[in-house]
Symmetry: C2
Subunit: 428 residues, 2 copies
Amino acid sequence: MGIVLKGNVCYSQTINKLRTVENCYLVCEGKYLLGVFKTLPMLYKEFPLADYGDCLIIPGLCDLHVHAPQFAFRGLGMDMELLDWLNTYTFPEESKYIEIDYANKAYGIFTEALKRSATTRACIFATLHTPATMLLMEKLEKSGIVSMVGKVGMDRNCPDILRQVSAEAAYLSTKAWIEDSLDKFERTTPIITPRFIPTCSDELMRGFKKLQAQYSLPVQSHLSENIGEVEWVSELCPSSASYADAYEQFGLFGSEGAPTVMAHCVYCNEKDDELLQKNGVYVAHCPQSNINLASGIAPVRRYLKKGINTGLGSDVAGGCHLSILRAMSDAVGASKLYWRLISEEYEPLTLNEAFYLGTTGGGSFFGKVGKFEPGYEFDALVIDDSTIPTTNPLTLEERLARVIYCSNDSHIIAKYVRGEKLNNEPDK
Amino acid sequence: MGIVLKGNVCYSQTINKLRTVENCYLVCEGKYLLGVFKTLPMLYKEFPLADYGDCLIIPGLCDLHVHAPQFAFRGLGMDMELLDWLNTYTFPEESKYIEIDYANKAYGIFTEALKRSATTRACIFATLHTPATMLLMEKLEKSGIVSMVGKVGMDRNCPDILRQVSAEAAYLSTKAWIEDSLDKFERTTPIITPRFIPTCSDELMRGFKKLQAQYSLPVQSHLSENIGEVEWVSELCPSSASYADAYEQFGLFGSEGAPTVMAHCVYCNEKDDELLQKNGVYVAHCPQSNINLASGIAPVRRYLKKGINTGLGSDVAGGCHLSILRAMSDAVGASKLYWRLISEEYEPLTLNEAFYLGTTGGGSFFGKVGKFEPGYEFDALVIDDSTIPTTNPLTLEERLARVIYCSNDSHIIAKYVRGEKLNNEPDK
């Protein structure tokens, strides 16, 4: 048996084409959308109908980059740049996840917030601690959100308390964690997660490649976020032609069988662009974090012109907000400043393009996700925008713009993932 | 009889010094603060006490630049630059305020939102329509917020429907409006408001100067928001040495007896800076609007180094959000990109500096406003941040940072202006 939702639909058919349909029926069976209909076909008259009246229904949003253990301190330390911020806030905080009680409390806060947010799919960094990472996966599984979660690898250039004792130990513990988690959940799967080149020895990277290949796993990491970081990587990997090439040399930059996503990509050079494009690697564009950490602005227009896969990330807690709606407006704003201050060659993103990035752009990392087209997995948000008052009749496209710029989590009145409505009661 | 508030206090003593006092008493008599006390002096034991427990109490925030008639369409047209956006959205919308019923509905929406926001003082643009502007002033007066409201002057370079028929007609209607409104309200006063040089003839500017001088009124307008606008002004005023000088030549750039505030100041040159500084003119920094309209980034650090008065503005609907807390985090973000992309000579604003700008920085435009020091008018926000959960004990300064980055209007549980608690029931 399926379900039917009635309301006003907006989604990106392509990056240049927003489709809006007033007062229509979304028909879903199992995990999948069967179609969008102006008149409900006889065939589906028996399906239970959720009538959302004049609400907007949009695809669920995809967060391609978020750090679960950083959520509890979001908004702090924002007067620092990346490397200082990591050492002062992030690493001390992440070291606390060795205690399962602490992780239970902090990941509870994160998961509840994610449930109430606009996100339906996420690529998530945990810490290096296996029990805490498994606990996070359990909580996420219960939340109904679909996620890929990474036990983080670090065996150099970090505080002792967060350094894995050896590359081999890291390899073995990661392998054990993968075997435990790989088939344990319906919605929650492991993803290979070297933190970034500076914290991962060559041997650890080779170990991660071995695991990636053995289990056909996706990969997530960071690329070219900050000028100092890029210089550091070129010193650490003298044989690499670029930062992306450093990952590529280890076979962790767009492997067979599963996609790779790289957060930030603020300072990619031509060689990096070429590898991103050739290998189908995803850019997780995190504009708010790039501003908060004074990193700069990623050249998203350039990536789009080159046909590089691009989606959005909140990068909490470099970003302070889980909302991918906020990431959309931040992406537009950042692209305007890129155009104004860096290069008029790259015109600003339109709001519709940013909406695409947060839905289909990132959604394709998870398969057929992010659009309301037949055969796509059905992830949706129902948004009541009646409390964003106006005096003029608005088109659906205009209402969507106001939702992106002016709404918050309280406007989301229902959330569906893979065809199932999420329970929005807090998990006890 | 006075009142006493109990809670955790944060305010900027100077731009470089945040004062935080845990668990203290704010004592207020009439409009004014008598002091902040760790122990309540005997003298005030009889004053009624509002115990806000573990809440934060911060000064009310000052919005130095907001367009009331644009609130109803905030979030629309953000893919345009200033001059196109004015012609496509703003001017057609503002022309509707000739109808008092429309104004009643739209200004009702604006005033209710302002009441719920963190703003306690505001410099507000209305439209050129006198009845609608008076209606807005009545609504604002009832709201309890203290504001300066401008009937806007425009007699050239705008659609016919918004063009005052002559400079003389504009002068006369503005004079009549000033006389009607000047002593009518306790909290709401007129401010001389030429929209900006491009829409005001020399004769209109001279008329405004006459009114400014006759009634000792403050002045608000726009300065150097956009590159095309700056070029246009230099063509329109060939005898002026700079955009600021064009206002100065009319005597409307920091007059005796009342202050002037200029929104934006993104592209000021040395001559502009000199006049801003010399005349004590306020910069209303509106970072979100400057990003949304792809204008650029104002050099706030430069203004601070030169001792130029600076506060924050929401610039709704160039900005989409009334929140001056949001303006603080946007100001910090914009200054980071200024430092990274334009000039490393000007270090980013710290969050505490941005907090100063949104409280004392803008507050001084209204007199002794924006700090919790004896003799200051008592404007305050009581903020319950317990629903921004964390796992670690936080200092008051850290809690304030999270309020700035992560709170929304729903966290404001009480608002005081000039010693009175605002009623937060909607106006019927």
